[in-house]
């Protein structure tokens, strides 16, 4: 490894590469932060440009966008309760309440620190022990995946609301929404009502934009701005304490950060899962082991750290199966696979032998991107907090305009805009009745994996579901699920007793 470092560093450290990584981060953060625009589409659109660049420059650009985009979603999640990316849905739960308390600066900084540290550690893991982790990830067959998804869904349903029944119901409804369209196995149509547009299922991005951004727009329009004084989303506290993360606060969260990073790497390394799951599982784990679980959902800094570290730690983790096995873990890494191929880098076991110099140059790029990420995000923070001083009467009409344009342009299909409106209204009604919307999204994301992994398990075991309880890794997740649900009921009861 060391023999490759010097030539790799020479390859990477050019002014051009540094500028390109910064540009990628900048684009990623901006796109991630604007509800209605999305990172996978941006990566796809930048793709043809990268074909004509040097391999290191092209790949670094996309990695920058990937990292920046995964982080950027948290900005709008904190400031206007609208996650710019699915991964940031967990960040809303505590980030927005903090912003409402005037502590937007604190939440945003926590999100930067969490993201950068999570990324950094996961990159180091990628560079040092990728092959070993990939070997473990391959042990996850259909049965293990089913138990993991089941565990994740229960966690999300339970932690995202005080009211666990409502959280679980929302997750169930999300699974139902996912069943609309063609069944992934037999191809038979389900609940399509004869509409051709529904054969491929409910499109994801319009569903996401509607559920979070449009529903928030309806919430906002309930309250008029007064014409006499400026009505803004959330006031920013003048108190310096409220705009920074103190060393004491940081120290108190180190455990959460490490735990979330490990969860993020683990989940990232399993193809087909992704950063949103990691954010929620980290959040749930943090809540269950916190000294102040009752603060979660009301502006807990720990919650922001857990969610943001958890989702950004996935970026390094997701590169593990991509580079070592050629198997992409999510939509963005799937597109990145194309870039590697275009530059003659065939991901897989022999990549590290054949193109070692380029790969190590890319690794150096990852680490450099982390450092740049910290600075670019810190500069951006000042800019983004300014958003809060814009009148709501201007800010939200702009948001809705971008939502319409964003939903339309994903597939150039007007049907998608109707889907967005439908989920906007649904999200609004759910919020009014205190049903959390995040589990619905997660139910949608995980629904098809839940179904296919169960079917695969049953086919492989000739119709039996026993392997779920007999295979060790799978059994572990089943036990974890039971433990998790009981434990969170227990801490809820305890905290309620404390209040009385």
């Amino acid at each position: 490894m060391l023999t490759h470092l010097v030539p790799a560093a020479q390859l990477f450290f050019t002014i051009q590469n540094l500028l390109i990584v910064s540009l990628g981060l900048f684009i990623g953060i901006t796109i991630g932060a604007i509800p209605g625009l999305n990172v996978p589409m941006t990566v796809a659109l930048l793709l043809p440009i990268t074909f004509y660049m040097q391999p290191i420059a092209g790949i670094s650009l996309l990695l920058g966008v990937y990292k920046g985009g995964t982080y950027g979603g948290s900005i709008s999640a904190i400031l206007i309760n609208t996650p710019g990316a699915p991964a940031a849905a967990a960040t809303c739960m505590d980030g927005y309440p903090l912003a409402r308390q005037g502590k937007a600066g604190k939440a945003l900084r926590a999100s930067i620190y969490g993201s950068v540290i999570g990324e950094f550690i996961s990159d180091i893991v990628l560079i040092t022990i990728a092959a070993q982790i990939a070997a473990i990830a391959l042990k996850f067959g259909p049965t293990e995946k089913f138990s993991l998804v089941f565990f994740a869904l229960c966690t999300i349903g339970v932690v995202s609301s005080e009211d666990k029944i409502k959280g679980l119901s929302a997750a169930l409804f999300g699974i139902f929404i996912r069943t609309i369209g063609s069944d992934p196995i037999t191809g038979s149509s389900r609940f399509t009502f004869g509409i051709f547009n529904l054969i491929g299922g409910i499109p994801f991005l319009p569903h996401l934009i509607g559920l979070f951004a449009v529903s928030e727009f309806f919430i906002q329009i309930e309250r008029k701005v007064s014409s006499s004084k400026k009505d803004i989303v959330a006031p920013v506290s003048k108190n310096r304490e409220d705009n920074i993360v103190t060393w004491k606060e940081f120290k108190a969260n180190i455990k959460t950060i490490i735990r979330s990073t490990l969860i993020g790497i683990g989940i990232g390394a399993l193809p087909g899962s992704g950063s949103a799951i990691s954010a929620f599982v980290s959040y749930g784990a943090a809540k269950n082991s916190s000294k102040e679980p009752e603060k979660f959902g009301k502006g807990s800094l720990e919650g922001v750290f857990a969610a943001e570290t958890g989702n950004n730690a996935v970026t390094g983790g997701a590169l593990i199966p991509l580079l070592t096995l050629g198997i992409p873990g999510d939509a963005i890494t799937a597109i990145m696979l194309g870039v590697f191929l275009v530059h003659g880098l065939v991901p897989g076991p022999d990549l590290f032998v054949k193109s070692a110099n380029i790969i190590y140059a890319i690794f150096i790029g990852l680490i450099v991107a982390n450092i740049l990420h910290f600075f670019i995000a810190s500069i951006g923070l000042r800019l983004f907090t300014k958003l809060l001083s814009i009148s709501r009467a201007i800010l939200f009409p702009i948001v809705i305009m971008i939502c319409v344009a964003g939903s339309y342009t994903v597939n150039s299909n007007i049907f998608d805009v109707y889907v967005m409106i439908f989920f906007g209204v649904l999200g609004y009604i759910m919020k009014k009745f205190n049903f959390p919307v995040a589990p619905l999204m997660m139910g949608y994301i995980l629904g098809s994996l839940l179904e296919t992994s169960l079917v695969q398990t049953m086919i492989l075991s000739n119709g039996s579901v026993l392997p779920i309880f007999t295979r060790p890794i799978s059994l572990l997740f089943v036990i974890l699920t039971v433990f998790f649900v009981i434990w969170s009921l227990f801490i809820q009861r305890k905290s309620r007793a404390n209040k009385i």
């Binding site: 699974i175 038979s188 629904g447």
Partner: protein
Amino acid sequence: MKLPFLRHTNPRRIIEGGVLILLGGAILLLIPVEIQRISGMETKLSPSFLPSTVAILLILMGLALVIQGILPPRPVESKSTFTSRESTFRVLLSIVLLIVYSILFPIIGFVATSALFFFIYAYLFGMRNLIKMTGGGIAASVIVWLFFEKLFNIPLPHGVLF
């Protein structure tokens, strides 16, 4: 005079539970009509397995909510989140407007429609500064258009106007 156990009833929770039960029931009713069966594929699990399971679990969740609504101890307080009748009207109106917006922009053109609806929405929010309302709308919609069409090369509909 109320019966003693009714003192605890939480009608809102019962309604919410009822809606979930209805939802689950509706899914169950739709399954035979809306799930097409393709023969010849042996999968061990029929396409209607997951939807029916979800529907039954939804009904159970609904029942749990109803029971919680009737029986003491009272569960987590549901905050009264509904505001005045006027804001409900404003929300309903903005939903209708959003539908009109999405029908209109492919016909008239994205930029013109967006500027118009920016104006209307800003007005609904209570903004009365005409310069900000028109200027802001035109500026924002032109920027969005530039972003998508010129930077990313994804066309937005232009319709008859722009």
